[in-house]
């Protein structure tokens, strides 16, 4: 009998071996098999994030340095007469290099979106976990709050906060945070409601695990994949929200720059300098599209019902 079990275990190990022989990178790539679009989106996203992080080393020009003589120059690959790196995406109304501004603007856009999702995600997830696990009046209070706020459009609430706090990157982040936490709470709660009834939770309760340990050590790891999908898709929403608010003039303030603000500033020159508006919008679209593709891929790939397809 024990012999049998051993052989079974050995067979299992043998079956698993090819997978283990691959290095981590190959295994990671295999995850994307059959979905090359998601892989491309993931790579593009990583490039955008890397460029944002290393902006000072990558940007060919100082994004704030104006050069009034060479203003509103169209995109060109030829080196400018004054020498130096070509203005690949042209220059703006003050002669600032559009590519460099895009790179630095991306830094601001991405960091606002990331900060909002990180904090709102953490707060929302914890509230959702606690609310779903305990039920009762805690749940009632939180979920009524979520209901009321989510039956109301976020833009108006965010604008109200910016109105009283004043515009700027920090206050914009706070405003979006206040609008953005609910979806995470609702998502985490709905996941906990099913996990709470599982045998796994029942047995950990039976052996006397503490509440935080059950919540964060047992339930959270098991419900994390749909939550990750929400985080990724919310990044996309927040980039759009930031662009929208900055475009209206209630987000990032000059001389700082973000993609949305660049569109807002370039708008009045659109008839004779299309490049001021076209490129920031394209990069917002590409980033949001990639986040959506990756988010959808995470949902399909880590959905427990679809596990074992590969």
């Amino acid at each position: 009998m024990s012999q049998d079990i051993q052989t079974n275990a050995q067979i299992q190990i043998e079956l698993r071996e090819p997978e283990q022989n691959r290095n981590a990178f190959q295994r990671f790539l295999r995850r994307f098999s059959g979905n090359s679009l998601a892989l491309i989106a993931f790579i593009v996203l990583m490039v955008i994030i890397a460029v944002s992080i290393f902006a000072p080393y990558i940007a060919p020009y100082d994004p704030a340095k104006s050069d009034i003589v060479h203003r509103l120059q169209p995109p060109s690959l030829a080196a400018p007469a004054k020498g130096g790196f070509p203005h690949i995406l042209g220059t703006d109304q003050q002669g600032r290099d559009v590519l460099s501004r895009l790179i630095y603007g991306g830094r601001v856009s991405m960091s606002v979106a990331f900060a909002v999702v990180a904090v709102a995600g953490a707060i929302g997830t914890v509230i959702g976990l606690i609310s779903g696990y305990f039920g009762g009046w805690v749940d009632l209070v939180f979920m009524r709050l979520v209901d009321i706020q989510s039956s109301f459009p976020g833009l108006l609430v965010a604008l109200t906060f910016v109105m009283v706090l004043g515009p700027g990157q920090r206050n914009l982040t706070i405003a979006l945070l206040i609008v953005g936490w609910m979806i995470h709470a609702r998502m985490a709660r709905s996941q906990v409601l099913t996990a709470r009834e599982s045998t796994m939770v029942e047995s950990s309760r039976a052996i006397g695990c503490s509440m935080p340990r059950i919540l964060f050590g047992h339930i959270l790891p098991n419900v994390i994949s749909p939550l990750i999908t929400t985080y990724v898709l919310e990044m996309a929403h927040m980039i759009e929200a930031e662009a929208n608010m900055s475009f209206l003039g209630y987000g990032i303030q000059p001389p700082a720059s973000s993609w949305g603000l660049m569109i807002g500033e370039g708008r009045q020159y659109i008839t004779n300098a299309w490049w001021l508006v076209v490129f920031p919008g394209l990069i917002i679209g590409i980033t949001v599209l990639c986040l959506n593709l990756v988010g959808n891929w995470v949902r399909e790939e880590f959905d427990p019902l679809q596990k074992g397809r590969h």
Binding site: D147, I148, Q149, S151, F152, P153, L155, L156, V157, L159, T160, F161, V162, M163, V164, L165, A236, E240, A243, N244, F247, L248, G249, Y250, G260, I263, R267, I270, T271, W274, V277, V278, P280, G281, I284, G285, V288, L289, N292, L293
Partner: protein, 305 residues
């Protein structure tokens, strides 16, 4: 049914009260409009005088109760900016936005629903893939940027439409087209998805087996069952658009509607006007949601209230 609607209306009142009080507290506790309304060199006495004139020097609870009392009479006070009743200004701006949003939604429905049905009817084909990809791209592009691209191409380059303004159909087409992009993408996706689901359901296979034509299966059977998700999505988009999401696009096209008004209100820190806007948005959203919920009963007779 009556009982259900009554309960929903009661809930609507709670939501409107909740949101209004929330906005009131945020603006009156954190905000300090006097500083932005007066020039920098204003004296303390001038600030205090303005505060008194606006009623901001009273205790918060008194201000709140006065505000709530006014709200039940639909009186939000006079706009600080225009010195006329706030609700009147808001109601005056709504028709322009309604016109825009209605046109946009009609365009979206007329384009997205047939395309979504075709894609679901022939899943996996080239057309299906093109449609799925374009609808995703449409959702991802910032609407105000799409508007600017339309201006660049259709107004500046081709000269077919006006770049901005309000009045004729040549003013209306571009902003309406711009606003239709996102709902179009949403609707195409949801129609494609829910129709495919319904076409794979047992009853569709049975209908086909008994000899019903493709047309009948698609429109008489599947579409009616898919309608609940389609209406839900349409209602969400309609609510979003009417609730100020049109702001950036209205600004691009110089459209004198509700969205532009919201942007101006924020810039001028006009609390009474903001409260009136918030109230109206809450009412609109609640009634759209109610209408959507009631429509479920029509499309799916299993749903009863």
């Amino acid at each position: 049914m009556k009982r259900y609607i009554l309960m929903r209306l009661l809930y609507t009142v709670v939501v409107i009260l909740g949101v209004s009080i929330l906005v009131f507290v945020i603006t009156h506790v954190i905000g300090n409009p006097v500083n932005t309304m007066l020039p920098l060199q204003a004296t303390d006495a001038e600030r205090a005088a303005l505060k008194h004139q606006l009623g901001l020097d009273k205790p918060l609870m008194v201000q709140l109760s006065e505000f709530l009392g006014g709200m039940f009479r639909l009186d939000f006070g006079k706009s600080w900016w225009q010195q006329v009743p706030a609700l009147g200004i808001v109601l005056h701006k709504i028709p322009a936005t309604l016109q825009l949003v209605a046109t946009a939604l009609v365009i979206a429905v007329v384009v997205a629903i047939p395309l979504g049905i075709i894609a679901a009817y022939k899943p996996g084909t080239l057309l299906d893939r093109i449609l799925t990809t374009t609808s995703l791209i449409g959702i991802c592009l910032p609407p105000f940027w799409v508007g600017l691209m339309f201006v660049l191409f259709f107004a500046v380059k081709l000269g077919w439409f006006y770049t901005s303004g309000y009045g004729t159909i040549r003013h209306l087409i571009l902003p309406a087209l711009t606003l239709s992009v996102v709902p179009m993408g949403h609707l195409a996706q949801i129609v494609r998805f829910s129709m495919a689901e319904q076409l794979n359901a047992q009853y569709s296979i049975t209908a086909r087996a008994k000899g019903a034509s493709d047309f009948a299966v698609l429109f008489a059977h599947a579409l009616k069952n898919a309608a609940t998700s389609i209406v839900t999505m349409g209602g969400m988009d309609l609510g979003r658009l009417l609730a100020g999401e049109t702001a950036a696009v209205e600004v691009v096209f110089g459209w004198p509607g509700f969205g532009t008004l919201i942007v101006d209100t924020i810039g001028r820190q006009d609390f009474p006007l903001l409260q009136a806007e918030v109230f109206l948005v809450a009412v609109i959203i609640c009634f759209i949601n109610l209408a959507v919920d009631i429509s479920y009963g029509y499309f799916d007779p299993r749903i009863r209230y």
